[in-house]
Subunit: 747 residues, 2 copies
């Protein structure tokens, strides 16, 4: 018996004692308690948002009841008929259970009972799902992950109707369905269950929740602390992620401990954070309702609730999540998982700003948490959630780099700057990349993922080859690419060992918000440092982004700095000469997917590019050197299945050793196709000048059309208390801290 | 003295007599009367939409008054500073005049007076505008057209403050500004003034309106009947349009008589119809207020009011006009000109459906017409404007082909089918082209024009070279192109002599709405006939489009039938093989702008292509023959200024003599990026079969996944009373009329 087994045994004994003291007979007890039910029943008809959600659920469930129960033989990938039917089954059963508790109508309990009995009658004879692609095949679905989804929802449905069932029925369900089901996604698939990964968060929550409902403490312990085995450390999953490192802890708590940074950032990014939040929160809520000794909400200074707030910060003005790492665009705060997150977090933490998100969602959970949120809204407790500039650490200890968002005071602009760790198997090779939003519109985009989730015709709705060959590659992001090779040469193992580092983050000033970070490992011989500022220039209608990227190298390299703009080119000063015919820009690392449409250059000190997107103008002004090329590219080469969008990019290409890239991104003016008025359609920046660039200081001057100018000073010393003096020509400037912004309104 | 001069003289004498009998001293008298003013003043504060419009105008005008008057020396094209400033001047002056009348505040009258006196002080010394591109240069603007805009608005401003001015001030304005201004855009530029064209509509309205205000009947007559000269019949304008044909009438009435078909369709299309409606309607209203003998509203069975209704029909679910011929996308019912059109037409015709459009616009004119509309809305007289299937004739006599719109009963789908005349200088070579909309989204697009109106960086905001080389060409439209040459070989003179012809239009049936048209001249050796049906197939969620295109030719041709879809390709059955590198598809007639991305073919009887756009799926199923190629193309070749959008197309290419193209366009299902659910993502059409195709009959069978099928029978005899019998295999069908649709719900 190994040492950790002894500890697990001790914990098991302790927990059993605690569980025995709790009331284990009363149901419901999982996400809803008997006292929740009573409170809700008393207030029916008095809480508009809850009543509306109830009515919507009734309409949906009643329609499904009328349609009849169907549990077809599993055949399809996601998007296919059997997959979608079983997925719908668990969602509807969970709602039917809630309706039964709230309304007391037996038809809902019968519906759930009959469905579960039907599953019980087929489950033991089901072979592994016929699709063999997954590293952990389910029985109802093609992967254990979806089976775990099923069990998380069905646990709630079973809990809801538990008291209405005969002991014979319970016995059938528990012995023929739930227990073997839980064993399949844990004991039979340790490579799925015993990981630190969103898959295991779902798996452990599923096993733990059915354990709580059945009063089966062995399952709860298995869920909380994982399986007592450790023999699969070199394997990888379908996405190329590592299964588990030697000696790593497992189970729900281990996932919780390692999933979030102290700031509540989930290392895979917000798309998967949204996905993982649901099992984290419903199992946490279940443990809380069960009065379990070790609670999830309090763990790690309440990081679970912090993570909900962080998820909201990680969305644009439309509530769409920033598509960092593997992420489908359009996923938003309106998702089911976020309805759960908001309601559960509100009930647990009473943050009134969460209520404004619930109002946006226009629905609540049909349980105590949803009722608490709806009732608080009816009592007008809701407060707006003001998104702000924020720096979030990455890594369980908050030491693995992070992510910064700079926002203006109007919440119109958002600059998302990424200096995180790799982000597990869903991470992209995008060190020091950024993206930029105006009024919720993507202006400089992060491509997101190459996948059409649940659209069967597109590779069964799974990740497409172009996700690896394009979406993950460095050139697909707004960051520097050296010698046409991705960061870490696109090697996952290598990338997983490193992270970028924050140098400083300062958003105290209304006119200059600044974040600076570096990466020393993406290109070991070429350390990179990027400093980004949101600057309010005198007389300009909106702040501009100042982007300063420094790279060091003793050897000459080819640098490509792409700007993945969206919109219609309006003007350039670099005379782009069309290339004909169109060929791909390179052979690998994503370059094989880019067509070079035109190539330009300029003798001027700055290259300028203006484009129009969603009725707004934007201009990029970048400091150029002799020999710089401006490449106009278009995505779509080597894409035989038409899986990629035909999006454009502007790439600054330079051959140099040590080098400095300075660019200003300026939102300006508007175009209205109805009045046909173009306002402020021309850039207000006359010139961007590098005044000095030494090992200690950098000074950038921005000269404007209105005759005014401003200078941004950056010290290589990030100490906020350090004092600096800098003389450039006749001008002497003094300041303290890592940067200084000086506006000269009367030249 | 020529014969028409004698008639003009007689009319002049008659009109003078009538004008003398009207009250010529009272002002306002143009778009607003003294009785309008009194009515409005009495009801101020009681009519919400009017009060809101008034408040908005006050805010705008007060801000401009604070800014001070500026009449800079004319320098720029549209989009440039001086152009936009003078444009703003006339718009603000017109509003200030209205505010003076309604509120009686002297500051508004003074503002208009001072601005007009400032113009009067510079006008006579102004040379021709320095930009020399126009065939008719203005003095304030680069073209007389914009000068005419100025005068139409300034006439209203002058009328409003007329009574507040001293006779000396009036004399200065009339002798130094208005009279020479009117002469410049008429006598000095007959090639502009004496045409049948929207330019002349503006020009004549401008001259006529200032004539009415000044009580100068000679100007009014000049406006109504044109200049008595005829010496410029061979010239063309900036867009290549003919100036005037020999012996053609001129003047406002001649424009009105020839501009609209009896159905109120304007031959240049809705974008220019919108532009022309303003001078038509405000001058018509002015003539009405002046009690003028010959009225515009009653002329030609009230076609002016009919034209307003037609314009509404020519918009999609968002109120955006269908971008037929030269048209900027996004122009909509919200335009200023349409606010005028709706209010004036409501006052003149009292159609309560127009009020719902005024509600959409959320503002009204600050005159009697606007007040009438706002007051009627306050009295809850508004009724919805239900858009419907409609066939509109083209040409002054309604004999020059036309345009049909097929809409389903939900107003979700709109098929726009064009068999018009050339459409003057703004016409495209797009005989028998169609476009398709779902919920206001373009699914198969009409490209519109290659122009960025008023965006100075794009060729001064004027028409771009690509408008001729791409946007006007046949291949840019969803219609047949033979041997890579546009209709009429892209020759305007030739195209202007012909039009397509309606064969029949029948939208009586709820399950089959059909329109059929032919063109015999676009390719004189290859007559084309296209029949389009909106068919409700049994069990399908939405109607499908059946597209039947027949072309006759004794020689073998290359046929290209493009479908300019918008969206993301999801699936095909024709194995498109990527082409590398990308080269343009051809050398001329628009082909030089298309890249060939991939080329496919299929041995199956149908080629199928599914795409996703705005969260909806669409499938095109087309009957293929051996040798057919499916070309996946992308716009953007030979576009050095990046003036063209990178839009995709699917082109069916066939080499044949007589040939038949049969395709079904099927909207189906949906995708939700938040729930990640793909519903009904796969086409429901199993096969489209041509059962028979003879010189008399055509029968198309549509077989569905649900086991049901339907047959569409088309007779080459378009007589609605003709009886038909057709035996195909064992099945004998009888019907009367040009088509028959038979659904077989139990196979």
């Amino acid at each position: 018996m190994k040492w950790f087994s002894v500890i697990q045994l001790l914990i098991l004994l302790l927990a059993n004692a605690l569980l025995a003291s709790a009331d284990t007979s009363n149901h419901p007890k999982l996400v809803m308690t008997q006292s929740d039910v009573e409170k809700i029943r008393q207030q029916l008809g008095n809480v508009p948002l809850f009543d509306a959600s109830l009515a919507a659920a009734m309409a949906e469930v009643d329609a499904e009841i009328a349609l009849g129960i169907s549990t077809p033989t599993p055949l399809d990938y996601s998007g296919g008929f059997t997959h979608e039917r079983h997925k719908k089954n668990y969602a509807v059963a969970q709602k039917a259970g809630a309706l039964y508790l709230i309304l007391g109508e037996k038809k809902y309990a019968n519906y759930v009972r009959d469905m579960l009995l039907q599953y019980a009658s087929i489950y033991n004879d089901l072979p592994l799902h016929p699709k063999s692609r997954s590293y952990a095949r389910g029985k109802i679905f093609w992967q254990c992950l979806n089976d775990a989804n099923w069990l998380v929802y069905m646990s709630q449905a079973y809990d809801a109707i538990y008291s209405s069932l005969s002991s014979t029925e319970r016995k059938i369900l528990e012995t023929k369905l739930f227990r073997p089901f839980a064993d399949h996604i844990s004991i039979a698939n340790p490579q799925f269950f015993n990981r630190i990964h969103n898959h295991s968060t779902w798996g452990t929550a599923a096993v733990g929740m059915i354990g709580l409902v059945m009063g089966d403490n062995e399952l709860v312990q298995r869920a909380l602390y994982g399986l007592n085995i450790d023999n699969f450390s070199d394997a990888t999953d379908d996405d190329g992620g590592f299964i588990r490192k030697q000696g790593q802890k497992a189970g729900f708590f281990a996932n919780l401990d390692s999933a979030f940074s102290p700031d509540g950032y989930y290392t895979e990014g917000p798309y998967y954070q949204r996905y993982a939040m649901y099992p984290f929160l419903v199992f946490a809520q279940s443990l809380s309702n069960a009065g379990y000794a070790e609670q999830a909400f309090e763990r790690n200074q309440g990081v679970l609730l912090k993570a909900v707030e962080t998820l909201i910060q990680l969305s644009d003005n439309n509530g769409d999540f920033f598509p960092l790492n593997d992420a489908q665009k359009g996923m938003s705060l309106l998702a089911n998982e976020i309805v759960t997150a908001i309601d559960v977090a509100y009930q647990a933490g009473q943050d009134p700003r969460l209520l404004s998100i619930a109002q946006l969602q226009q629905r609540v959970l049909l349980d105590g948490a949803g009722f608490a949120a709806a009732a608080a809204i009816a009592e007008k407790k809701s407060q707006p959630f003001k998104k702000s500039s924020v720096a979030l650490t990455d890594g369980a200890n908050g030491t693995d780099g992070g992510l910064a968002i700079l926002r203006d005071s109007n919440e119109s602009l958002a600059l998302v700057f990424k200096y995180t760790a790799q982000g597990l198997s869903h991470g992209h090779y995008d060190k020091l990349a950024f993206s930029f939003y105006e009024q919720g519109n993507e202006i400089l985009q992060d491509y997101g993922m190459a996948r059409f989730v649940n659209i069967g015709q597109k590779g069964g709705g799974n990740y497409l080859a172009e996700n690896s060959t394009w979406a993950k590659q460095s050139i697909a992001h707004n960051t520097l690419v050296i010698n046409e090779a991705s960061h870490f040469e696109g090697n996952y193992e290598n990338g997983s060992q490193h992270h970028s580092e924050l140098i400083f983050f300062d958003t105290e000033s209304a006119t200059a918000q600044v974040v600076s970070a570096q990466d020393l490992n993406a290109y070991p011989k070429s350390p990179m440092k990027r400093s980004m500022a949101l600057l309010q220039l005198p007389g300009l209608e909106a702040p501009v982004v100042l982007d300063i990227l420094e790279v060091r190298s003793s050897a000459e390299n080819q640098y490509d700095l792409p700007f993945h703009y969206l919109g219609q080119p309006i003007d350039t000063n670099f005379n782009p000469l069309p290339v004909s015919p169109l060929e791909s820009l390179g052979g690998d690392h994503g370059y094989q997917h880019l067509y070079l449409e035109a190539r330009g250059s300029t003798d001027a000190s700055n290259a300028k590019f203006t484009w129009l997107h969603k009725e707004r103008f934007f201009t990029l002004t970048t400091v150029t050197q002799s020999g710089d090329e401006l490449l106009m590219t278009r995505l779509g080469a080597n894409d035989p299945q038409f899986n990629l969008r035909r999006d454009p990019s502007l790439i600054i290409r330079r051959k140099a050793s040590d080098s400095l890239f300075v660019s200003v991104l300026e939102p300006h003016g508007s175009y209205n196709p109805v009045t046909e008025l173009a306002a402020n359609a021309v850039s207000n920046i006359v010139e961007v000048q590098v005044l000095t660039h030494t090992s200690k200081y950098l000074a950038i001057k921005l000269v404007m059309q209105n005759g005014q100018h401003a200078v941004f000073y950056l010290s290589q010393n990030s100490d906020f208390s350090a004092n600096h003096q800098l003389q450039i020509g006749k001008e002497k400037v003094e300041w303290s801290g890592p940067f200084h912004f000086r506006e000269v309104t009367h030249p």
